[in-house]
């Protein structure tokens, strides 16, 4: 493979972000673009985070101020002390890295990073606290805003030996119903925007790093240059080795799997270690749902072991069934009772309980009946209203002449409604409401007809004309005031209106308009009245038919 797992991730991100071409992703050694070379170099450095101390050592060795105290960052690790000490530390770290997971600690996090014997690292945080890690870790903190959270996280990590930190991560993460996945030891801790996240790497080693944004990759180009050449040489050498190996194994590409066993050290340890956390969470949830029942069960069990409790329970069970049975069962329980007092109290409890049950049942029955009736009433009302609404929307108003036909007699229906009122009170509200609406509509029709008749009245016509003329004049005045018309136009319009008023044109125009509107209004009102009559019939005869079976529906 051209890339190792941790590099391919970043290279792929770079490719997806358009920073690397597909060809480069496929074969980084063949890249010719300087820009891409630098990016690849940076990716390699940041991915491997190996400390190439050769050049640094040379610089330090040549440095005349060998004993001068300073702070240096080599390969991302901060060292403090004299150059000699730094060199020693860096050498130790490098040696450690040959056999251990990588180490990288940003200077912003730890003011001092010292490699100690027995594969331990001593980190001095900014607040002076010294942490000693048993295993090397790798942390990069490029974004200064992440420092605080990273430090806190490291402390947590340190204190809880990684367990609590992972637990915290799992708690903070939204799984959306998924079972928390068991973390692989080669998973990476990623610090992004101050939050600890985790992602899996194909690199099976235990190390932690901050995800490296490509913006920061560019910053490290200069630092990356001298690494690239070396990496290139290494990659070429590796490629040659792989090619040779492939050539030698051409005929043995296909292998039979002779044994397969579940991972023990690599996965099982982690599984055993962490699966408890997941199970704990699940058990907690399960327990929360079981607790009430468990408590009730324990209580009842304990209660049952007492003679009195046993008798009460049996009595209650019997009482729930039937009253006579309860008494019989209660009498059978006499041997359990210790004395007349207990018997009396138990019987009394049973009777009281039974009485309460009966009353409750009766109450529930009545309530249910009432609720059903109310519900049926509402459904019927709703159905009628919907049908009326539907009809009014779809049905065109009929010929007004047709609506002038004599209205169906209301009086008999009202009498019938009064009669039904004695039989049932269910539809009283509907009938009354319907009649009220019909009366209103009738009144409105009469008003409209009255207005129509009055149009021909000379006095009323004159009054209407004055009102109409004044309205139009007011409109013209408003137009002039708002500047919508100029003064000559205004004068012209007023003159036209005055002429129209004087020669009767305005009156005719007004009357015709009013008559037309009244006709439309009356037609609509009559149509509405028809619908109300229909509704009245439906409610009246429908309910009557239901309540008085055998009378039939007269609609």
């Amino acid at each position: 493979m051209m890339y190792e797992g941790k590099i391919i991730n970043k290279a792929t991100i770079a490719y997806l972000k358009g920073l690397l071409s597909e060809q480069t992703l496929l074969d980084p050694l063949a890249v010719e673009s300087t820009e891409e070379k630098e990016i690849i170099s940076a990716i390699r450095i940041l991915s491997y985070a190996k400390i190439n101390t050769d050049e640094e050592e040379a610089k330090l060795a040549k440095d005349s101020s060998y004993e001068k105290k300073s702070e240096r960052t080599i390969g991302g690790i901060s060292f403090a002390g004299t150059n000699k000490e730094i060199l020693e530390q860096a050498t130790q770290v490098r040696d450690c890295l040959k056999h251990n997971p990588l180490v990288k600690m940003d200077s912003a996090i730890a003011s001092k990073t010292l490699y100690k014997e027995n594969d331990t690292f001593e980190l001095t945080l900014k607040d002076g606290e010294v942490l000693t890690f048993k295993k090397p870790i790798i942390v990069e903190s490029i974004n200064p805003s992440d420092i605080a959270s990273t430090e806190a996280y490291l402390k947590s990590f340190y204190e809880k030996y990684n367990k609590e930190a992972l637990q915290k991560y799992y708690k903070s993460r939204k799984y959306k119903g998924k079972t928390p996945r068991i973390p692989y030891p080669h998973e990476l801790f990623v610090f992004t925007n101050g939050e600890a996240k985790i992602r899996k790497s194909t690199e099976p080693c235990t190390y932690y790093e901050k995800v490296v944004e490509l913006t920061s990759v560019k910053k490290d180009r200069k630092k990356a240059k001298h690494f690239f050449q070396k990496r290139k040489e290494l990659a070429l050498a590796k490629k040659d080795t792989e090619n040779k190996k492939e050539e030698s194994n051409v005929t043995t590409k296909r292998h039979k799997v002779i044994n397969r066993v579940p991972g023990k050290e690599f996965f099982k340890k982690i599984k055993d270690y962490f699966v408890k956390e997941g199970e704990e969470e699940e058990w907690k949830q399960a327990w929360n749902s079981i607790v009430p029942f468990a408590i009730a069960g324990v209580f009842l069990s304990v209660f049952k072991f007492t003679p009195f409790g046993d008798a009460i329970l049996k009595g209650l069970v019997s009482c729930i069934k039937f009253v006579p049975k309860a008494f019989i069962n209660a009498s059978k329980l006499i041997p359990y009772f210790r004395g007349q007092l207990l018997l009396s109290s138990a019987m009394l409890s049973a009777c009281t309980f039974n009485l309460i049950m009966l009353i409750s049942l009766a109450g529930v029955g009545v309530f249910t009946c009432v609720a059903i009736k109310k519900r049926l009433k509402k459904i019927k009302e709703k159905t009628v209203q919907e049908s009326l609404q539907k009809e009014s929307e779809t049905k065109e108003p009929e010929d007004p002449k047709k609506t002038e036909e004599p209205m169906p007699p209301l009086l008999p229906d009202l009498e019938q409604a009064e009669k039904n009122k004695r039989e049932s009170t269910i539809n009283i509200g509907n009938l009354s409401g319907c009649m009220l609406r019909m009366n209103e509509v009738k009144t409105q029709i009469k008003e409209c007809e009255f207005l129509q008749e009055n149009l021909d009245d000379p006095i009323a016509a004159q009054n209407n004309l004055e009102v109409f003329f004044n309205t139009l004049l007011t409109q013209e005045n408003e137009k002039l005031a708002e500047g919508l018309v100029d003064e000559p136009t205004y004068n012209k319009n007023v003159a036209v209106l005055t002429n129209a008023k004087n020669d009767g044109t305005l009156l005719n125009q007004h009357n015709n308009e009013i008559r037309k509107r009244l006709d439309e209004r009356i037609a609509k009102l009559k149509y509405k009245l028809d619908l109300l009559l229909e509704q009245y019939d439906i409610i009246h005869f429908g309910s009557s038919a239901q309540m008085t079976a055998g009378k039939g529906k007269t609609i």
């Binding site: 493979m1 890339y3 992602r199 043995t252 039979k256 799997v257 397969r260 066993v261 991972g263 690599f266």
Partner: protein
């Protein structure tokens, strides 16, 4: 075979199965060479899993394009955890190809 298993090949080499990839209706595994004690080496390979008469066989994937696609799929799933949009884009791109 499944992830988290250590397989032993007929040449005596042990591999730890790290990732499972379904690609073009075939099952591949990302594996890393390891010892019996599961001390892993930096030697990653993709294996194609095949079965004959109930026995498992693995075939190393040497096709560069296929390796790249498998790696992209693995990476996409990993990237999707951190960069959902990128992961999605990546998978879509793979599907389009």
């Amino acid at each position: 075979m499944k992830v988290e298993e250590v397989i032993t090949l007929d040449n005596g080499i042990h591999y730890l199965l790290i990732e499972e990839v379904e690609y073009e209706e075939k099952k591949y595994f990302l594996a890393v060479e390891s010892t019996e004690d599961e001390i892993v080496y930096s030697n990653f390979k993709y294996f194609l899993e095949t079965q004959e008469n109930g026995e498992f066989f693995v075939e190393e994937v040497d096709d560069t394009t296929l390796v790249r696609n498998l790696t992209l799929i693995v990476s996409a799933s990993q990237i999707a955890e951190t960069y959902p949009e990128l992961g999605k884009q990546m998978l879509e791109e793979l599907e389009s190809h």
